[in-house]
Symmetry: D2
Subunit: 305 residues, 4 copies
């Protein structure tokens, strides 16, 4: 199997340079487009890896399914559904004009920025430091890696340049969809996006979604299966930005990408996959990473459809 991964990485190498690292903050612009790494955990606990799988990168939007999961764990499906919608918006991830009409809960999807910011208000905690700490703890727990940390430089950059996210948050506030202090909520959101992970971390997290809430090896259940169904369903319809339909057709598994270059792919009941390559396509998805997942899906018949 590792031979297969090596083959795929070699085969996808030409795509690496076709993508461009995100450039809105210097920390992301420094991403090396030559990096391409993969890590896979099978349901029997076996792991396989290839390429630059040890390189750390910022989690960015891949944190969105974890945010959604924590909101589900803290409040249950019914409460979460009251706060957010689950329909594809047909718009880019940071679109401000989701609708011409008064903004309502059902217009905000947890996989786009506006919905993810709203999810931060659904994490329990005395204050937003505690809320973020609980998100970080869950991320560490899902990944089985207590060493996962915030990347301070990325966080400070996000905070400094995040004016479109500020606009989205004030819009939520103006429609009464969030009540807390906007900068507090945004700090939590910016920190969430700035968690530093590796392919292995993403593969482990994906594995828990694939196993519908059970940890690898111990099989300890850490959340109800229905939360995994919920998150995985949302990932298929909206996880790859406005390229989600194309990804469903070409790869066919729940997945979430981030502008840091990471992709977490969930193959329900079978495996968790973490991929990293910082060159992005025009929709903001890792270009070589998507190609590698497509090749892997075809070779291993991963499509859930």
């Amino acid at each position: 199997m590792e031979v297969l991964l090596e083959e795929i990485i070699e085969q996808c190498a030409p795509y690496k340079a076709l993508g461009k690292p995100a450039s809105y903050i210097p920390e992301l612009a420094k991403g090396d487009v030559n990096d391409l790494g993969m890590y896979i955990i099978l349901s029997n606990g076996q792991t396989f890896k290839a390429g630059d799988y040890k390189k750390p990168f910022s989690i960015q939007s891949v944190v969105k399914p974890i945010l959604l999961l924590l909101a589900l764990m803290d409040h249950g499906m019914e409460e979460v559904r009251k706060k957010i919608g689950v329909e594809a918006t047909g718009k880019p991830f940071d679109a401000i004009n989701v609708t011409d009409q008064s903004l309502q809960n059902l217009h905000i999807n947890p996989m786009v920025n506006m919905g993810a910011i709203a999810m931060c208000t659904m994490i329990k905690g005395e204050n937003y430091d505690e809320r973020f700490q609980r998100l970080l703890d869950l991320t560490r727990h899902l990944a089985g890696n207590p060493a996962i940390e915030l990347d301070e430089a990325v966080y400070l950059s996000e905070k400094r340049t995040g004016n479109k996210n500020r606009a989205l948050a004030y819009l939520l506030k103006s429609y009464g969809l969030i009540e807390d202090d906007v900068e507090d909520v945004l700090n939590c959101y910016f920190k969430a996006c700035s968690i530093k992970v590796t392919c292995k971390d993403l593969a482990r997290i994906a594995y828990v979604f694939a196993s519908h809430g059970k940890m690898p090896i111990t099989e300890a259940r850490i959340f109800p299966a229905e939360y995994a169904h919920f998150v995985n369903a949302v990932l298929v319809t909206c996880g790859m930005y406005d390229g989600s339909g194309d990804f469903a057709v070409r790869v066919g598994v729940p997945a979430k990408s981030g502008v840091g270059g990471g992709i977490m792919a969930v193959v329900p009941t079978r495996m968790g996959i973490g991929i990293f390559s910082p060159g992005l396509d025009e929709k903001g998805n890792s270009l070589a990473g998507t190609k590698a997942l497509e090749a892997l899906s075809k070779r291993m018949y991963l499509s859930i459809f």
Copy 2:
């Protein structure tokens, strides 16, 4: 198992009257909201049914995946992808304003009317009568039912009142996305929507998508597996109109609904399901039918996520 179906039908009975039959043509308005039927075919060939599963109804939008399949069979994936996009539009099924910019192929999704009209031009045939005949033949073949016929009254009503579809077709033509005579193309589309089917027919058709192209019992392959992956993926992201995200979360299987009250649900590798109940929810999906599928999915763990 039939006991389970009976239970579900009883349990969903209160929802029947909450929906409303489509009213834009008299033939659909006559739908009896008390009807609720289900038909299931398992991968071992076993069949189960309950309720008003014998009642015929017009296929309406459930024909869209068949149209897409025939286009794939006639031209292959690459050509079809050049003609249509696969992203969710975030708009209702008959939305005319998919975008503010010049209309392009990638803006039209085969599960909304504009894309389905474009699919009619990708069926091979000397003329549009022949094209429709080939679509009808494929429908009969997939359903294993040579008695499937066009409902003339529905077709004539569709044709008479279909001015929004005419607007969509002329818009496609004005952007060069279709070249043939608009009324010819629309006749084919209106006829496609007016095919008369039963729950059993839809279950059989769904089964072939579920088995990735193989007929029940004989296991004869009638189209490549990758076409099924394609169609099923598109169904998950867009098959239930702008309620697709909610359906993915609550039910979790590829499915297509029509305003005639039918739903075809595909459980890959496991089963094909046909459901019928003419009362629609506000998004145009059979209300009791969706509830029945949700109950079935929970009882039989059907979610693919």
Copy 3:
């Protein structure tokens, strides 16, 4: 004064080649970008002209205020206001997506295609031939030129290629905003756009709007002053497509342009102006024509603001 016009025409000559004739039908593409003509009628009956003022061209959208006027004359302001709105749409003239919501009368503006098509249904007449004949008669009467005729070649081209207008008309029909046969209505609209005029004709027509309904010299009133106020007001807010705001700021008079290269400008109580130059800017307004009007407005203090 004719010296002034000559000066302006010379001064605007460099702009002629910067515009492009409309190219959607061959008849318009043949427009000679070197043409630039002006004709002015003052309230004392004096006339001034310069450049290619004798060249005939197709009236195109400049017919819209005449269509609106005839609807007002046939039904009065109250009835017309029930049928159309008067707000700027913020969209190009042929935009199909005026709104995300159900289309209503108030969404259609008489200076964009959809509203002008609706206006055709408000002309009185036994049939659409008679309706068009009445529009042509009014045009001749306003222009004091019984020789004005339909340009058959332009009409047939419009009819053959007018699929976007067909889409707009079927959309109106699907929302019940027009009731008559779509092709009948469109024939009237396409003919209306294909009336052949000169700068002199437009100046005369503009004069009658400027004098609030009175003919030059005889001062015979042919429509109530309030209809002129209505039409002139609509021209200021929407007459120059989505360049109307810029035109109001730079020129400051009610005006209507057409893709044939003509502009009719109304200086209330003072003068009527006809201008022609077939090179269009990106919004569809005659480029050199607009520049000439701007120069004239500055030199003669024409701004009504």
Copy 4:
């Protein structure tokens, strides 16, 4: 003439109760819907008044033309045109989704909030306190009333509840359309909206726009005529929110309304009008105030069209 005003005020009395005071801040909600006042200054210096013309109210959006004027006085037309557009947006005044595409200068109109916020950055001054002071000074100067003051309570309420304006400002900032600190800019904008005026003040300010930059009686020019043409043109196309087209047709003069209930109407070369009645129609314009202007326009032939 004062008899005429009294008549109009009596005749419009029934409309007072049909409008609703703005309710987003308590200070505006307290507006007495029974109030209706008018003040007129003719070009010969004569003044006429009727009703509750002495009641103070907050200027709200009526400050927008003064903001635009000060930007013009500080930077000239060319620089201002680089910073803002002048086309109607076809959207409500606080719409956030002016466009689906990247936000550009030309998309923001000075009569809607986003454009007015941008105008604050074009006022010269060491800091935003000084900028606001210069705006207040100009307002006093135009109104000939050095007693005009900021309404602190309104300002603090605006600041506390202005999250949609914050969203608009951060959106501008994220697209690089403003560079200064968002809260500084917003403070200036919120203060601008909170200036306390009377009908007389608005009439005087309107007079200066009507006289194209000259003060009453002294005829001292305080800004070039072309700035008045610019502002008045923008008022006609966009001054009455998305009811501007209707107002142009019914009343026919440049005007600006505010949610405080004030309207400033400019009759070029003839008069300045200030009106106040706090009950608003659904577009945010003073309902009885608009009716009174319509009556006045019909009785005195004010339409500029």
